[in-house]
Amino acid sequence: MWNFIKPRGGNLWLWQVGLLLALFAFWHVMTVPGLIPPMMFDNDSQAAFFFGEPLKVAERIWAWFVADADIYQHLGVTLAETMMAFAVGAGLGLGGGLWLALAPMASAILEPYIKAMNAMPRIILAPIFSVWFGLGMGSKVALGVTLVFFIVFFNVYQGVKEVSPVVLANARMLGADRRQLLRHVYLPSATSWVFSSLHTSVGLAFVGAVVGEYLGSSQGVGYLILQAEGSFDINTVMAGIVVLTAFALVLDSLVGKAEKHLMKWQPKSGETEKL
């Protein structure tokens, strides 16, 4: 019996799902009023008030997606903000990183400013952005952009600095001019670094969007959470968190797919097949 259920490659997902179910079961048992005598709290319903109940959370999610089907608009807004923040931030980071890596004087002048801006807790810019760009999508995108920009920027900067001098000299001997070097040597080398940071930067774009919504907005999943929190509806807050987590996972797997496709020139270890 044990041999059959022992964790191994083949039944890995079973264990993963099992662990999730166990967590939900634990949550359920600990929070549903009257199921077990209260241990930490004075009365039965306090645990449910603070931690929510998984069944009610599931009910809420069901209502969002199927019964009322009213979450799609909010999800769409949050995802659109994430995408725009990522696209703009990555584009600016790529451009800025390439420029500063190839212009040593400009990079020397700007160095302390870049360090300062990177060290600054940039989430704190959110209130300023809502003043500048209003409560709509603009301020969320701006916040996401500041988060994404620096990740991509530093990776590209590093990537250009670490272009193999031999590959560079070779391209020059093959007749590449400055523009061609940028297009065919620096850029591909830098993109590999962008992709290595892609998981982080897409995640941060998502963080920027949700945090921006949470701090003040009229739509988006962060807005739903903010509303629910205002009325102490902990089940809806939890439901929002679950939905966000699920979508973060989906985004991450999409990034993984894109990476696999675009980075197939990079060596991977262990490409042999056991026959």
């Binding site: 590959v167 001997m173 591909p188 590999s192």
Partner: protein, 269 residues
């Protein structure tokens, strides 16, 4: 007839970036001529500035003094008429073998289809037909060198600079590649400046072998014409009496320098 490549009174002094006072003269008083269609090898102990010379000839490095002339014209910037085969891996890892070979053509504005056709042709010539869609990390060291060779030769340069191109290969692959190179050279008769630390290789391949003294400040101290008839097979030629004779003569000069170079490295360590 004008020489393909001439280095005249070339000296290269490097300044340490951290300590500007510290200088290192790699080569000095170098006079070296490669005639059009001539195969010249440069041998010398390690660290004698062989690669420095090649970089000067390629226009990648500006000599401290002296001048470089390419087919009678003073060299400005990159040497457009030269192809350079590097010692280290120089392929672009994000391009397939075919795209790597066609890169030079692409840089020169050749149409994509035409470039791919020529690249494919050269890949086949170096024995890699059918490997065009492989990325460099999917190929062995020997295959990567072949791609490098095709990448350099597809542009049909008048001068070919080679920096220990086969030093990282095992002996069998190496002999195959050497014979292939000789065959291609025989057909095209380009000027070749070939850097190696392997005297056997130098004699077997070249029309002329130049011996460098031990660094720092190394310079050519011997110039030996290799009068062995072609076509040659690099494996067979090594047992011929003339080869052994030449080998002995050059080694006589080289040995002392190798020992000197070794002593200097010991001192520095």
């Amino acid at each position: 007839m004008t020489a393909a490549l001439t280095l005249q009174d070339v000296a290269c002094t490097f300044i340490s970036k951290d300590q500007p006072g510290q200088r290192y003269t790699a080569v000095r008083e170098v006079n070296l001529t490669v005639a059009a269609g001539e195969f010249v090898s440069v041998v010398g102990p390690t660290g004698c500035g062989k690669s420095t010379l090649l970089n000067v000839g390629a226009g990648l490095l500006l000599p401290s003094t002296g001048s470089v002339t390419v087919f009678g014209q003073p060299l400005v910037g990159i040497n457009q008429r030269a192809g350079y085969m590097f010692q280290a891996d120089s392929l672009m890892p994000w391009r397939t073998a075919l795209a790597n070979v066609s890169a030079g053509l692409q840089f020169h504005g050749v149409a994509e289809r035409e470039a791919a056709g020529q690249a494919d042709d050269w890949l086949r010539r170096v024995g890699l037909g059918g490997f065009g869609d492989r990325y460099p990390h999917q190929m062995s060291g020997g295959m990567r060198k072949r791609v490098s060779l095709a990448q350099t030769l597809v542009l049909d340069p008048d001068i070919i600079l080679m920096d220990e191109p086969f030093s990282a290969l095992d002996i069998q692959t190496r002999q195959l590649m050497e014979n292939e190179l000789l065959e291609i050279w025989q057909a095209k008769k380009k000027a070749v400046l070939f850097i190696t630390h392997d005297l056997d290789e130098a004699i077997a391949m070249s029309d002329r072998v130049v011996v460098m003294s031990a660094g720092p400040g190394s310079r050519p101290i011997g110039d030996f014409p290799i009068d062995i008839e072609r076509p040659r097979d690099v494996a067979e030629i090594k047992t011929s009496p003339r080869f052994l004779q030449l080998h002995r003569a050059i080694w006589e000069v080289l040995r002392e320098e190798v020992l000197k170079g070794y002593q200097q490295q010991l001192k520095a360590a």
